[in-house]
């Protein structure tokens, strides 16, 4: 794996260069510590974490669709 070449390619795009390189470093680091499986696991964990966070925000705002507004959606006590 020519990580240096890949990094140079990633760095070519000036848009969000800093964030993109940080993400690249995370992938490279995961690969070095556990290979392909570790990269997949790490990335999936990040994605699932973000989706879970989004779903928690949804529950906080409107509960779930099934709760049909019966849930105390704003955290107010009776």
């Amino acid at each position: 794996m020519k990580w240096a070449d890949i990094k140079a390619e990633v760095a070519k795009d000036p848009v969000h260069k800093k964030e993109r390189l940080a993400l690249f470093r995370s992938i490279e680091s995961a690969w070095n510590s556990g290979g392909t499986a570790q990269v997949g696991e790490w990335l999936l964990e990040q994605i699932e974490h973000t989706i879970t966070h989004a779903e928690n925000l949804q529950r906080q705002l409107v509960g779930t669709r099934e709760s049909n507004g019966e849930e105390d959606t704003d955290g107010n006590e009776d």
């Binding site: 973000t50 989004a54 669709r65 704003d74």
Partner: protein
């Protein structure tokens, strides 16, 4: 680092039950023998010694490696593989034993340990490469050959990438792709869209509910406000206070809306308060008491009625008996008379018995003495008798047959009468006892009723009449109370209806407030956070996409470079070995489609040659690719060995001859190890290989020791 394998020592590994040494020091080594004689175990030992568990399992993408175990089944000697390699800087020895987490490798140089376990694995990764790279450049595996030429694009791509040493790129790209990163931001957007839909649906639902509620309340929705709730609650509280006041019951605290704050709690409290009146009001209490009294009266009336009936029956029994048999005094007198009569009769019988005894004794005396015969004066009475014996005989007979019998019969009749009268006396006494008990039970029941119901009555009065009169009075009282309670229940019902109405007004207000809250959710901090998350996810997806593009670009560049270096060799080897001379200038082409590279093999006429190749030529093509890639990229290969595992499959004599010639060419630059079971190919190798060659024969396989080498 340039290495060649010189020697192997294998023990307790796969088919090797005991230790065996395999000399690989010659430029060409042929492992020759039938199937299942241990040739492949020697090749496996080389891989396992370097890479341990990396060369087993699903990740190798080789079917026979799933469930693969290094240890020999007999386990008679510990599993161990030692591989001695020639290196310009000093020979290196690799030694591996099975250990958890792929530890167990020790590397030494000139007898000195360089490193072991994880450090040794890292040394191999740095100086030799990983298992995939080793398989690409060193070990030509049968499964690669079988699939390389004819497999579908994805399989072919995987194998060629492995041969090119680029499978790490492809595996990484596959792994990134499988996480679904490209649809990830859409999922976060989906969550936000879902919130918008839920808000819209719920606002619509609450508005519809309010329409229906307003129609039921006969109020325009805009009239309904918190102020209206307060006004209606005040009216409700007044109604409750008034009702409690009318019924004379003390009203508890917290009857105003302000006491509760939450209208739902207030309404529930009011409902409970008015419902409590059903049991708390004096009329209710009196109604309950009168009800209980009527039940008591019913019980006492039934009880006294039963005991009176019993008493009447006992009285009737005594009376009927007295009429038939007389009263107890009369029966007693009758009994006395009979007892006297019996005594006198017994006396009479005693007298008759005495007379009989005298007369019968005299008669026996006269008969015995022959006296009293003829006319003479009676010795007993002095009168003149004709024959005293006859007279006495007649008198004794008369006493026996008539007088004594009659007296005894008369006595028997008297005794029988005494028994009958005594039985009547006993029976009458028993009936009188029963009557006495019935009288007592009746008196006790009346006494109990008087006590329980607090009745005052004269002894001459009939208790049943008194009780029945009292019951009629209680029933009249109950009817009057129930009439009064009906009014109370009606009032309670009206207040409950008002509670229902207020409930609906509050529901409309709750819905209005919920609509307001839902309408303002988009200004909520959490909603804004979600929007930011959506933006971040979008950015993240595009960043990963860019990284994926960079990895693909680097891989393709590398791939093109390696293919460019190799294709001349591949073509040269193919044209040298293949029988089909109609194919000229075979070219290996890399095409890109949807981020993937596909490998094509075309000839000068730009035709895809795969479809017209025989099975033998397909195998030649696969071997040419393997050998060609290896030769062209030789400088990248730390191991200067090449291993062919059964390469002459499906080949005819011509193919085999050319393949032997090719092996000889490769042997000029690399150490060649060939495993084969093909005797024809063996002879061809022996004929065409010009470099020094050692043949190791795997003659037979002993179950207790493993392969036997010659």
């Amino acid at each position: 680092m340039e290495m060649k394998i010189r020697k192997l020592r294998i023990s307790g590994f796969r088919g090797f039950a005991v230790e065996r040494a395999v000399d690989l020091s010659q430029p060409v080594t042929m492992l020759y023998g039938e199937n299942a004689k241990g040739k492949s175990s020697v090749l496996n030992a080389i891989e396992w010694c370097l890479f341990g568990s990396e060369c087993a399992g699903k990740d190798t993408r080789m079917r026979e490696r799933v469930g693969w175990r290094p240890e020999n089944r007999l386990g008679s000697v510990p599993c161990r593989v030692t591989m001695m390699c020639q290196n310009p800087d000093g020979d290196i020895t690799f030694e591996r034993i099975p250990k958890p987490r792929n530890k167990g490798l020790t590397i030494s140089r000139k007898g000195q340990t360089l490193c072991s376990d994880a450090e040794a694995n890292a040394w191999v990764a740095e100086n030799i490469g990983n298992f995939t790279q080793f398989m690409a450049m060193v070990y030509q595996h049968q499964e690669n050959i079988r699939h390389l030429a004819i497999a579908e694009d994805s399989v072919k791509r995987s194998i060629i990438n492995r041969l090119l040493g680029l499978s790490d790129y492809s595996n990484l790209l596959d792994s990134l792709q499988s996480t679904g990163y490209s649809t990830f931001s859409r999922k976060v957007t989906g969550v936000r869209d879902d919130i918008d839909d839920i808000i819209e649906d719920r606002i619509f639902g609450y508005k519809e509910q309010n329409k229906v509620l307003s129609q039921t309340l006969k109020l325009r929705p805009n009239v309904i406000s918190r102020k209206l709730v307060e006004t209606e609650a005040d009216t409700l509280t007044s109604s409750v206070q008034s009702l409690y006041s009318r019924t004379g019951v003390k009203l508890g605290a917290k009857t105003r809306l302000a006491d509760h704050g939450d209208p739902h709690k207030y309404i529930n409290h009011i409902r409970d308060t008015v419902r409590a009146l059903q049991t708390k009001s004096p009329q209710s209490k009196e109604n309950l008491r009168v009800g209980r009294e009527i039940s008591d009266l019913d019980y006492q009336i039934a009880k006294i009625d039963a005991s009176a009936r019993k008493r009447g029956e006992e009285r009737k029994n005594v009376k009927e008996f007295q009429v038939k048999h007389g009263k107890l005094g009369s029966l007693q007198r009758k009994l006395n008379r009979l007892e006297e009569h019996k005594t006198s009769k017994e006396d009479e019988i005693a007298r008759i018995d005495a007379v009989y005894s005298v007369l019968s004794g005299l008669y026996k005396y006269l008969v015995e003495k022959q006296l009293g015969i003829g006319k003479q004066v009676c010795l007993a009475c002095g009168s003149t008798v004709n024959n005293q014996q006859d007279f006495l005989k007649h008198e004794v007979k008369e006493l026996e047959s008539s007088t004594i019998k009659a007296a005894h019969e008369e006595l028997g009749g008297i005794c029988n009468n005494i028994r009958l009268v005594r039985e009547d006396v006993r029976k009458l006494k028993e009936l009188e006892e029963h009557l006495e008990l019935a009288e007592k039970a009746f008196k006790d029941d009346v006494k109990e009723a008087r006590a329980r119901l607090r009745l005052t009555m004269k002894p001459s009065e009939d208790p049943m009449k008194i009780l029945k009169k009292r019951k009629i009075e209680s029933e009249q009282r109950r009817d009057a109370l129930q009439k009064a309670l009906k009014g109370l229940l009606s009032n309670i019902g009206k207040i409950e209806e008002s509670c229902d109405r207020l409930d609906k007004i509050v529901a409309v207000m709750d819905n209005k407030e919920e609509i307001e809250r839902l309408s303002s959710i988009k200004q909520h901090k959490a909603y804004k956070e979600l929007m930011e998350l959506e933006g971040e996810a979008d950015l993240w997806s595009s960043d990963i996409k860019a990284i994926v593009a960079a990895i693909t670009l680097v891989r393709d560049k590398e791939s093109r470079a390696r293919v460019a270096r190799s294709k001349k060799k591949v073509s040269e080897y193919f044209n040298m070995v293949a029988e089909n001379h109609g194919i000229k200038d075979l070219e290996m082409i890399v095409e890109h489609s949807r981020g993937y590279e596909n490998f094509r093999f075309k000839d000068a006429s730009d035709e895809d040659v795969i479809t017209i190749l025989s099975q033998g030529d397909l195998n030649v093509l696969a071997l040419s690719i393997f050998a060609g890639l290896g030769e062209a990229n030789l400088k990248d290969i730390p191991f200067q060995s090449i291993i062919f595992d059964d390469p002459s499959q499906s080949m005819g004599l011509h193919h085999k001859q050319r393949l032997a010639e090719l092996a000889n060419i490769i042997a000029e630059n690399r150490q060649v190890i060939i495993s084969t079971m093909d005797s024809e190919f063996r002879h061809l190798l022996e004929k065409h290989i010009t470099r020094p060659m050692k043949v190791i024969e795997f003659e037979r396989w002993n179950p207790n020791t493993g392969p036997e080498l010659k």
